[in-house]
Structures are given as structure tokens and as C-alpha cells.
Amino acid sequence: MAPVDALQTSADPTRAIALLISLTYLIAAVLFIVGLKMLSSPRTARRGNAIGALGMLLAISATLLDQEIIAFRWILLGFVIGTAAGVWLALAVKMTAMPQMVALLNGFGGAASAIVAIAEYHKLLLAPDLRATDVVISIMATVLIGGVTFTGSMIAFAKLQELMTGRAITFPAQKTLNFALLAAAVALSAWLVVNLDQPTIFVVLTIISLVLGVLLVIPIGGADMPVVISLLNSYSGMAGAAAGFVLHNNVLIISGALVGASGIILTQIMCRAMNRSLTNVLFGAFGATSTVGAAGAADRPVRTVRPEDVAVMLGYAQSVVFVPGYGLAVAQAQHSVKELASLLEKRGIDVKYAIHPVAGRMPGHMNVLLAEADVPYDQLYEMDDINREFDRTDVALVIGANDVTNPAARTDKTSPLYGMPILNVDHAKSIVVIKRSMNPGFAGIENELYYNEKTAMLFGDAKKMLVAVVGEISRA
């Protein structure tokens, strides 16, 4: 149908409304793209998000005009439940819990797409004359992707929320089982495409996709969750796009494709930052074993200092770089860091923050945590930018970061970290590490940085130590 024809026959109200809906969808799709584009700068990002929300409002309003819709009460019920839960979640969630939140939302999006496909299957079951091969194929794809997204995200949520162990759960022949299930799902889908009238097979397919989502995420360790959330984000988009193919709805296809692409880019960035391939993350079961390589840690000397020593070091410095890791957020020390930074700035000391791409539990997480503590974003430096600065830095203060500062990643070919891009903290004139003990980090690998002669270790809780340093500097 060419739009012009539709305009000429606009005397027919049904066609005019259909055209209005289609054009509104087009506007919504444009608003989504413009909104995402505005997320490329912190100055325009908030407006961009609002523009995306406006697009969504338009798309939903237009859909309500659809002639096929009769039962508004049921839709309203869904809206009320969803809005109440959504508002509560968005206002109640702590910034440290953002990864869980995103996982949960991903899961709901995937589930919604899968349910749409299930309902469409039900409709086709009762109406044989409406069946078209491409729609049936799309239904199967939506159920499979949506189902995997739903349960996979719920497992990711449970791991991050510590409702279950964060460690990788493995068992013999796990990969074989996963591939067998995937093959079975594809075979059953093909069978249903040939003969749709087999509801039992459809139910089995749905169950397999749900089980597959669980099995794909349980062998992935807590440290790899940033990759998994990014990937599930992509899946939820793909599920939406697949549902668009089911309903012949272009705005679903476009939005799904945008989100799918976004998730893939973030997945790639996370993998590169951890120096791992996606296959290795998904099937490598990294973090299944407990910490290794901690032996012999006791026999090597480290230089320990007290808060007052650190206060003196900082007092004489001209430039200080903070290197925060997730340990900082665990200790709830973001505000103490900001307090120390403000104090140093008042004395004319240049302060910067070095943010590694995997500092936190999801892409960009540390930036949000520091923004919450009122750290201005122009002080937050990405890895490549700050690495040029370390040679000119007087004191690098490492708080709760470990593996991302390990120089062995650059030099030691036998290290499991070898090749991972790191923050060149060891290039600073002096280094202070605030750490609870000499225990190795997430990956269980010893950090060469701690034995560097320029490094001073300040053992203790990050927040208490920072407060002590602030106290010493204020008194001086």
C-alpha cells in the first residue's frame, strides 16, 4: 500500500487510522534514534532519554487506536501493574545494584516478546487461513530468543543479587547438553513450521528455550557478568525485533535492531577490556575454581604505611590520580573519595580519576557510582586518556581496584592476565594502595604492583582509611 493511495481514500476511516498509526510508528522510530544519538554527550543525554520516552508514548498511544483492540480494561490493568512496579523499581534501586536492575528489566522485555509470540501461535492454531510460513518461523524464533532472554536474565539477576552463588556452576557434558538442546529447539521449530497443529511440541519448545536460558548463564562466573548482561541486552532487542516480524510491525523491528546492535557493541567492549573472547566467557567457566596463586604471598616484603604518611605524600603532590575499583563501592567509600578530592583541589592539587572499562559490575558502572557521589564527570578519565598522564602523576591512589592495575598483564607472558589492557599505575612517581589484606582479587592472581618499590600499602577498610587521611590533611 503506497501512502498516497491511502491518503486519497482517507474517506474510509479504517484505512485513515491505519495510516495514522503507521506514520506515528515512523515518528517513534526516528525519536528513538535521535534519543540514542543524544546519549553521546552528558550535556544532551538527559534530553535524549526524554525524547526516547516521548517516542514510546507516541507508539503506545497510536497502538491503542488499532481497530482490533476491544478489551481496553485488560490493557489498562497491565499498564497499572507495570507502571506501579516500574516506578517503584526505578526509584528504590541503589546505584550499586544497577546491573541487577538492568538484568531484571531485560528479562521482562524478553518475556513480553515471548508471550506475544505464544499468543500469536494460539491465534494461528485457531485460524488456519491466516498462517504464513514467515510468520510461523518468526514465532518460533521469538519464543526461543525471548525464552532464553527471560530465564537467562533471571539467573543473572539472582547471581548479582547474591540470591545464588556467583561462582560458575559446571557439570560434566554441560556444553554437549546445551548444544543438544539448541539442536532440539531448532528441529522442533522446523517441525512446527511444516505442521503447526501440534501444541504439545510447541509447549516442549517453549520449555526447552526456558531451560536453555538457565543452562547458558549458570556456568558464567560473577566477574564475567558485565559481558553477560550486555549480551542479554542484545538478546532482548533481538527478541523484540523477532516479535516485529511476527506482527509485521516496523517500529518493533527497528527498535529491536537498535537495541540488539547496542548490546553487541557493549559486549565487544567488555570482552576486549578483559582480554577474553566471547566464546571463552560463555563456555570457559572462568571463576569455577577458588583462588589460585595466593601461595607464597607471605614471603615477599611489601612497604606498609599509616594514614598520616599518606596525608603527607598527598600534601606534597601536585597531581593525584584516584584509581577506583568495585571494592570502593562495596566499602561505600565513594563519598569519602570525593571529600578527599575536594580537600586536595582546594589546596591547588590537580585531581583526576582513572576509570578502567571493567571497574564495576557493568559497562560504565563506576562512572555512575562516582557521579552519584558528586564527582564532576570531566574529572573521570577513560583508560587510554589517563594512561598518558601517569608519567606526570605524583601520587596514584588505588582504592579497591586490583587486576586492572597488575603490570604482569603487560610483561609476564605466563600470567593469566597477560594481554589484558591495564591502567599503567606503576608509571606514577609513587603509588598508594588501600586494601583490606594481601588477598588476591576476583581472578585470584597476585598483583606485582604491590611489590613495586614505589608502592606503599595502606591496609584497612577503604572508607575508614580515607576518612583518616582526610582528618590528617585537614589538621595539617
Binding site: 526516547g52 528489566l105 521482562f108 522485555g109 494460539h122 550486555s230 532482548s236 547496542s262 557493549l266 558502572h365
Partner: protein, 98 residues
């Protein structure tokens, strides 16, 4: 392959490329809001859910429809709101230009 499907495939592939171009320009500073914001956009499946819930079919479809609308709405409302909550926190140093 029908022409409608072919057009839909064109739209999908082109949108993926637009997605890559637009998203690649988002700095790591904003990757968390990007994720929750794009997440909200993927709640567009709410449209499909509305169509399903609004059809006057078997009660079985009603329940599915309401569940789908509710879950997609959580995705949309929660996603956009929490993104806004985060973006509100990003501030520049007073008196400093970037």
C-alpha cells in the same frame, strides 16, 4: 519469500547498521545509562502485548496479554525513569569547560 518479508528484512538490516553507527559514538562514561535507556526502548514489545491483550479471544489469551503488557510496561517505565535518575547525577565541575 513474500515482498512484505523482504522489506521487513531490509528495514531490520539497515536499522542494525544505524544502531552500530549511533551507539559506537556513546562514550564509556555513559554506557550504564545507555544500557538502561536502550533497555527501555526494547520494551517496545509493549505494542505487541497491547494488541494481544486487546483482542477479545479466549480467557487464556487475556491472562497472557495482561502479563505481557505488565512486564513490558515495567521494562519501559522502569528503564526510562532509572536512566533519567542516573543522568541527573552527571555534573560538570563548576566553572570548568570541557
Amino acid at each position: 519469500m513474500t515482498e512484505a518479508l523482504l522489506v521487513a528484512l531490509y528495514i531490520f538490516v539497515l536499522a542494525v547498521f544505524v544502531g552500530f553507527e549511533v551507539i559506537a559514538k556513546v562514550p564509556t562514561l555513559l554506557h550504564t545509562p545507555l544500557m538502561s535507556g536502550s533497555n527501555a526502548i526494547s520494551g517496545i514489545s509493549v505494542i505487541g502485548a497491547i494488541l494481544v491483550a486487546g483482542r477479545l479471544d479466549a480467557p487464556y489469551d487475556k491472562i497472557l496479554g495482561v502479563a505481557a503488557v505488565a512486564m513490558a510496561t515495567i521494562n519501559v517505565v522502569g528503564g526510562f525513569l532509572v536512566t533519567d535518575r542516573m543522568l541527573r547525577m552527571f555534573r560538570r565541575s563548576p566553572g570548568r569547560r570541557d
